[in-house]
Amino acid sequence: MRAWHFSETAYPYLPPADSYPSIRVSLPNRIYDPEKGAALYDRYIDEWLIAEDEGVEIMLNEHHQTATCVDPAAPLMLAALARLSKKARLLILGNPIANRRQPVRVAEEMAMIDVLSHGRLEAGFVRGVPYEILPANSNPVRMNERHWEALDLIVKTWTTHDGPFSHEGRFFHNRAINIWPRPIQQPHPPVWVSTTSPSGAAPVGARGFIQATFLTGFDATRKVFDGYRKGWREAGRGQDVPIDRLAYAALIYVGESDLRAKAGAEKLLWYITSNKVPPHIANPPGYIPVSANVQMLRGAEHPMSAFGKRASVESAIEAGIMFAGTPDQVLKQIQKHYDHVGGYGHILIMGQAGFLEHDDTVHGIRMFAREVYPRLKALYPDTVISGFPQPTAGATARC
C-alpha cells in the first residue's frame, strides 16, 4: 500500500456563499488576493514536503477558474515540486487532456518533469469534471474519444525515439513529433487515469494503466474496480490484476484524540459543502449520457450533490468517502472499505481543505504517516492480487 498526500491548494477566503451563485467558473477573481495566494502556495508546498519527510508520496491536480483549487497549470506546480522535493513520487492526477489542444505539448511537459525529478513522475490523465468545460471552451460532446486519442498519442510520443513521426487522427494533427527531452523512466512514466464509472474503467484496464477513483464510496468503487478488471482480462492481460493498479481517493484525517480528529474531519468537509455550482455549469450538454440526464429531469439527484446537502462527518464515513478518527478507528474504516471493494494499492489522501490550518494539516499528515501507514503496509503488501476469488479453476484467490 502506498499513500499520497493530495492538496487542491484551495483559496478559502471567500464572501458568504449566498452572495455568489457559483464557487466555480464565474466567481470574479477580484475576490482572489494574490498576496494571500502567494502565502497559501508557500504553505501548501511546505505541507507536501512535510508529507515527503514522513514517507508519504506527493499528489496534485488541476482545476480552472475556481477557488476550490487554485492550480490551473498543475505541471508548473509539479515542476517546482520536482526541484524542492528529493525522494517522493510525484503524481499529477491529472492532465485534463480532453480539454488541452496539444497532446504533444502535454507529453513534453511530463517528459520534462520526469527528467527534472530524476524519474519520479507518475503521469495521470483525467477527463476533467464538467466545470472545466467552460473555462477550456471545450466541447463537452465526445470528450472520451478525444481523451483516448490524446493519451494514446502521448504514450507513443514518449516511446518513439527514432526521429519525427506524424499523427493525423480524428481530433489531433501533428506532422513531425520528436520531443526533447524524452522521459527518464522506461519505457515511460507510470500512467494513471481517473474515472468514476465501470464503463470508463474498462479501457484503462485494457491498457494496464493505474486506475484511480475519487470519493466513490463502497458500491460504486467496487463497480469501477470490477470494470477495470473486466477490461484488463478481456485485453488478454491475464486473470490476476495486481493490487498496485488500483487507487482510491478519500477525505482522510487522523487525530491523536477523538476530539481533534473530529474537528479536523469537520473542516475537511469543506470540499463537499463549499462546492456550490448551479446545474448549467455542473452539467453541460453531452457530459453525461442521455439516459442519465433523463433520470435527472425526472428528479434523480447526483449522489454527491445529494450528499452535500446533508453532509456530516458521520455520514461521510458511513458512505466510505471519508476515513477519520483516531489511528485505530481510521485503520478499521479503511480495512472495511478495502475489503468491500476488492482492495487497492494506493490511497490518495485529501488531507487539506478550506480552513484546515497548517498545524492541523501537518498533525493529520504525521498521525497518518506514523500511526496508520505502517500498519496498512503490513496488512496490505503490494504483492496481493486485487478483487475477489474467481469461480474458474485457473483463478488465483486473493491473498
Binding site: 467552460l134 471552451n137 466541447n139 463537452p140 460532446v141 465526445r142 474519444e145 480524428r170 448551479p278 446545474p279 448549467h280 455549469i281 453541460p284 450538454p285 453531452g286 442521455v290 439516459s291 440526464n293 433523463v294 429531469l297 425526472r298
Partner: protein
C-alpha cells in the same frame, strides 16, 4: 424524414429544439405546400455518424438529399441552426434554392470579438434561457412532468447534438459571411420581435450579406415565431414565396 401536403415543395430545416409533426404551423404550410422536414442527424430519432460534427456536414447531406428528391430548384426555410444549414447550402449550390427563408437564423459573426453575437444559452440557468427564447416563456416552456421518457430523451439528445455542432466557434462559421454574396436568390429574414438570441441588428447585418434579402419582425414572438405565432409566420412566409418573382 416527415412529409405532408401537396403543391410546390418546401424544405423545412428545424432549429435546435427539433421538430414535432404535431406543431401548429405544420398544417398551415401543408395546406398549400408539399412540406418536407428531415430530422437533422443526432436530433429526434435520427442517427448521428461518429464523423459528423458540423453544420457544414449537414448542409452537404441535404444537398445530397435534394439530388435524390430530384425536385430542381426548391424553396428552403430554416429556423435558427436550420437557417445556418440553409445558408451553407445556399452558398455552395445557389442554383438549387429558389427562395430562401431564414427564421431567427444563426451562423455568422457580425459583431466585435469582445461580445458574443448570440448569448450563450448553455452558460445560464434554463429559466433565463427560456426568457431569451420565448416571448411568453410561461406559455411556451415545456412541462417536463407531462413528457414521456421518449420525449425527454429526444429533448436531451437534441440539446447534446446542438452543443456538438455549435460549441466552437459559438453558433457561427467564421467563413460563411465571405461567401454569402453567392446566395443571390430572393431571401426573407424573419425574427420574432422578442427574440433574445437573434437581435434586430444581427438579423439586419446577416441579411445585408445577401444580394436580395429583406427583413421582417413578427410581434409577440421570440426565437421560434413558427411556434409562438404560427398563423402570422405562415402567412408572411407563404406570401413571400408566392410573391417573389
Amino acid at each position: 424524414m416527415f412529409e405532408v401536403g401537396d403543391g410546390a415543395p418546401l424544405l423545412w430545416l428545424h432549429g435546435g429544439q427539433g421538430f414535432n409533426p404535431k406543431q401548429e404551423f405544420v398544417p398551415l404550410f401543408a395546406a398549400q405546400r408539399r412540406l418536407i422536414v428531415p430530422s437533422h442527424p443526432g436530433f429526434g430519432r435520427s442517427g448521428l455518424p461518429d464523423w459528423l460534427d458540423s453544420i457544414d456536414d449537414i448542409a452537404h447531406i441535404y444537398l445530397e438529399l435534394l439530388d435524390h428528391l430530384d425536385l430542381g430548384a426548391i424553396d428552403v426555410a430554416g429556423c435558427s441552426i436550420g437557417g445556418w444549414i440553409a445558408a451553407e447550402m445556399a452558398v455552395k449550390s445557389p442554383e438549387r434554392i429558389r427562395r430562401l427563408v431564414m427564421i431567427g437564423p444563426v451562423g455568422v459573426k457580425v459583431g466585435g470579438a469582445d461580445k458574443l453575437d448570440i448569448p450563450d444559452i448553455f452558460a445560464m440557468p434554463q429559466d433565463e434561457a427560456n426568457k431569451l427564447l420565448f416571448h411568453d416563456p410561461a406559455r411556451m416552456t415545456p412541462d417536463l412532468n407531462k413528457m414521456s421518457d421518449e420525449e425527454l430523451t429526444v429533448m436531451v439528445r437534441n440539446r447534446e447534438t446542438l452543443a456538438l455542432l455549435t460549441w466552437e466557434p459559438w453558433m457561427h462559421n467564421p467563413k460563411l459571411k465571405r461567401w454569402l454574396h453567392r446566395a443571390g436568390m430572393p431571401a426573407l429574414f424573419v425574427r420574432g420581435a422578442s427574440d433574445g438570441l437573434v437581435s434586430a441588428d444581427y438579423l439586419a447585418a446577416y441579411a445585408g450579406l445577401l444580394p436580395k434579402a429583406h427583413t421582417l419582425a413578427l410581434a409577440a414572438a421570440g426565437h421560434a415565431p413558427h411556434l409562438e405565432q404560427p398563423q402570422a409566420l405562415a402567412a408572411a412566409v407563404l406570401e413571400f414565396l408566392e410573391r417573389a418573382p
